[in-house]
Symmetry: C2
Subunit: 370 residues, 2 copies
Amino acid sequence: MERMVAIYRVRSDAASIEARARAIALEQSVELPPEAIFSEAVLRDVAGEVQAIGELGPGLFEVRIGLAAATAGCDAGQLLNMLFGNTSLQDDVTLWDAEFPEAMAANFGGPNYGISGLRKICGAGNRALTCAAVKPQGLPPAELGALAGRLAAGGIDFIKDDHGLADQGYSRFAERVRACAGAVCHASDDTGLLTSYVPNISGDLNLAAAQIGLAMEEGIEAVMAEPMILGLSNFNRLVRDFPGMAFFAHPAMGGAARIAPPLLLGKLFRMFGADATIFPNYGGRFSYSPETCKAIADEARRPWQPLKRTMPCPAGGMPLERVPGILDFYGPETMLLIGGSLLAAGDRLTAEAVALQARVVRHFEGAGNA
Amino acid sequence: MERMVAIYRVRSDAASIEARARAIALEQSVELPPEAIFSEAVLRDVAGEVQAIGELGPGLFEVRIGLAAATAGCDAGQLLNMLFGNTSLQDDVTLWDAEFPEAMAANFGGPNYGISGLRKICGAGNRALTCAAVKPQGLPPAELGALAGRLAAGGIDFIKDDHGLADQGYSRFAERVRACAGAVCHASDDTGLLTSYVPNISGDLNLAAAQIGLAMEEGIEAVMAEPMILGLSNFNRLVRDFPGMAFFAHPAMGGAARIAPPLLLGKLFRMFGADATIFPNYGGRFSYSPETCKAIADEARRPWQPLKRTMPCPAGGMPLERVPGILDFYGPETMLLIGGSLLAAGDRLTAEAVALQARVVRHFEGAGNA
C-alpha cells in the first residue's frame, strides 16, 4: 500500500529512541504489538514503519514514520486520527510535519478560490489585502452592522466577524448577517470598492451549512470557520459542498494541539480547503516566532499541484505603525488582519481604515498594481 | 447575564499575573481592550471578569474568570471556543476546570444511558464491566468479525472497534458492522450472555449519522466516537438525535489540547453525552497519573443533576495480572478496556476472555450481584 509520512519530534534519551519510534509507528497504525498480529499482509502493508531517526540535539529526535495512506482514506478527521490521534495523549511527542501522496491532496481538494481568487473577489492587483474584524460580541446586530459599514467606508477588502460571534440568542446569525452585509454593500456602493463581508459560521455541520445558505442569499462570497472546533471532516465537507464560497480558516483550538503550526495551519488547513489561513503574527499578543510565521506562510503559498494556494493572514494585536514592516516581511501575497487597533479609533474608525488601506496599497505601488 | 466560570492555570511571575489574568478575561470574551469598547452593557455583562487569582507555587497561578454563559449558548463547539479558543494559542495557559450554570448542563443533556443504562444493556449487576477491542486495522471485515465472535464467546460485555477502524476502502464500515454484529450475536446466543458490539463511527456529521443508522439496522445499541475529531457540536448533535443509542467517547486528539483531562474527558464529554469515557489508565503505555485517572472517574461519576452518570473506562496497555489492582482502584462503577493484552493470546483468545470476565465478575461477588 502507498505510504504517507508522519514526521514527529520526540524527546527521548539516545538509548531509548529506536524502541520509542517503533512504539509510535505501531500506535499510529495497528495499535498492537507485532506478536499480537497474525496477518502477514497487515504486518507488511499496514503496520507503521520507522523510516529514519535523526538526532536534532541532546534528548531531541526527529522520527519519520511511513503510514499506509489507505488507513486515512479520503476523510480529513481520520487523517488527523492516523497522524496523531493516540500519540496526542503522549506529551513527549510533537507532530512536526507530514508528507502526502499527491493523489491524497488532490482528493481533499484544497482551496476553492486560492490567492488569485481572493484578489478577484476584492478587485485587487499584486498587493497585500486587508481584513478587519467586527466585534465585540454582545453588541446587537444593528450595532455590529454599523461598525461593518464604517469599516467598509474606509475601503478595507474583507470585513470579517470576530470568531466569538456565533448564533447567540441576543444576536442571531441571520440578523447579524443581514445587518452587516447590507451595511457593507451600501458603503461599497459609495466607495466604488469591492469590500466583502465575511460572516463566522459555527455549530454542527448542518447548522453551519444552513448558515452558509443564509449568507449566499445575501450575496456573500466568503465565510470564516474554525476547523479544529467544527471538526476537520466537516470543514472539508463544507468546502466541497459550497464550491462558490471562499473559506477563511480561524485557528481557535489549533494552537494547543502540539502539532507544529506550519503543518496544521499551513499545510493541512490548505489541503482541506482554506482560501485564507489566519494565524497569530509575531510580536503581537500571541507567541509565534517570526520563523514559525514564515513557515506557515511558506506552506500556505508554495507550489503544490494540483492545489490552489492559500492566503496567509497574520493577525493579533497589530498596531498600525507596524504595518510597513509586516508587509516587507510577508510580501504582497498576504492579507493583514487588523482588529482591535482599528476599533480603538472610535469616532475616527473610518478615517483610520482609510489610512490603513492607503498604506497597504501604496506599499506595493509600482509592483504591478494597486 | 449569568456567568460560567473558566479556571485556568497560568505560568507567570507575581508582578504580571493580574494584568495577564485581565488579558485572558478579555481574550476569551470581547477580544478587545476596554478602551475599544463603546457599549456599557458589553463592558458590564459580556466582558470577562477576573473573579480570583491564587498562587499555587512559584510562578504558577490559578485564575478564575467569569464568562457570560450566553456567549456559548447551547452549542458545544462554541462553548469550547469561549473557554479556550484563542487562549489555546498561548502556551503559558492550561484550561484546568470550568463551572456551569445547571440550566446549561441540562440543555446539553448529558448521557442517554449512563452507568445504570449500560449495565442494563449487558445485564450486569453491581460489578465492573468489561470491554475488548477488535483490531488491527487492515484486516478484512470477515476476519474482524471472527475476532469479535471469539471475544464474545468469552463473555466480554462490550466489544468495540479499534478507533482506527473507519470506512476504509479495504474494509468498509457496513461490511464490518454486519460481520462483527452477526458474529457477536451468534456467540451470545451460545453463551446466553448479553455481549454488545460497539462500532466506531467517523467522518463528517452526516456520514457518522448514516453509520449509526446502519448500526441500528443490525440491532446495535452502542457506538464509539472521537468527540475531538468529530467536533464537539457534532458529537452532541448525534447524542441528541439518537436517544436510543449509547455513546462511548474515545479520547483521540484530546490529550494534546492543554485542557486538563478531568475537565475534557470527564466533565465536558459527560455534559455533551458520553455514556462511557475512555481514557489512558495509569501505569500503561500512556502517561496519566493515578491522581488524574481518579479525577477523571470522579468527574464522570459524581452527582450532577439532571445529568446521568458516565462510566469511566480506563484503557491502554493493561496486562491481565493488573486487573485486580485496577478494580480495587476504581471500584464497581467502571469498565475495563483490555485490548492488545487479550489479542496477543492468539489461539487462546476465547479462553483468556473467559478468564478475564470471570476475574472481574468474581472480584465483586458478594457486592450485590454478578
